[in-house]
Symmetry: C2
């Protein structure tokens, strides 16, 4: 059976792909997985990282492709872990985050979806969700979801069943899907 998709999603992280695929299927976009390790420039902006990654991905697959880069930015820690969220998660994890955050617990999740094809080049879509770091890790989510409570909620992202209808990733992918439908 031949695989059919509208856009590839380049990532080494299948959780992230599954989340994106779910979200975009609601907008009639069929996402294919392009499992890949992409060049990551050590930059202090996730936009820059995403733009360079999608360029690299396009050079590898020569098909319409997106990458998504997200980061958790904690106000009292000068935006840490920010663009290094993935590395920080692998080393100190959520227990490290909980040890670092004290009185001011404000944080935001940012997402950038970067699209590339041969007609438009690189196009970026970004979004964010404000919130705070929880006092304890709660719920079974991946990444920082168990320690992030979005503003107006009492539960962490990991405990919220409709996370994919309110998340930073959802918002950025929705922006992309609107553009993609009418491009």
């Amino acid at each position: 059976m031949p695989m059919s998709y509208d856009v590839l999603f380049a990532s080494s992280n299948r959780n992230k792909f599954n989340e994106a695929k779910n979200i975009l299927s609601n907008y009639g976009i069929n996402l294919g997985f392009f499992k890949s390790r992409l060049k990551e420039i050590q930059a202090e902006s996730i936009k820059q990282i995403a733009a360079l990654k999608v360029n690299d991905a396009y050079r590898q697959c020569h098909k319409p492709v997106i990458v998504e880069d997200a980061g958790l930015f904690i106000e009292s820690l000068n935006g840490f872990p920010g663009p290094f969220s993935s590395y920080v998660f692998k080393t100190i994890g959520n227990s490290g985050i909980l040890r670092l955050v004290r009185t001011n617990r404000k944080a935001q999740f940012q997402s950038v979806v970067a699209y590339c094809d041969d007609k438009f080049g690189v196009v970026l879509f970004d979004a964010k969700v404000e919130g705070k770091i929880s006092k304890n890790s709660r719920g079974n989510g991946w990444g920082y979801d168990p320690v992030f409570i979005p503003t107006g909620q009492t539960k962490t992202f990991a405990m919220i069943s409709n996370k994919n209808e309110i998340s930073h990733r959802y918002k950025a992918l929705k922006k992309f899907s609107n553009w993609f439908a009418y491009r």
Copy 2:
């Protein structure tokens, strides 16, 4: 007065240059400062980062040039902050490190000196110093020096007057100078 030097040292960090210049002057190598912002790949090895940076530096200056990349690797934190030591220092600083480290305080400083010229291409020299994270920040040093106690000492790097005779950076630069003298 014309400037004269044997090798350029590419960095945006003048503290690091001054330390390297002091060390190499003892080996008869006159270091010139090439103040520059170099491309940093988000890699999980400081060797890879240093190799790519010195390539970038050489393309900019077309003269024999070194870069030095160092990292603090904390055992109980899976090597954090490692290759991201500089970013982590700028955001959570030494107070963040002290909050993260608990019972097992073992750590090591690693240094990689990367040299590049048109004859040898890229040549790497690495070294490390074992030690532990102190309970408090002590002494006026830059970077992580006030929280790192080398094995066999009671003082932090920031308090040790002969740090430049025992440090990871010293050891890597000494390896380089031996090679440079007999290349």
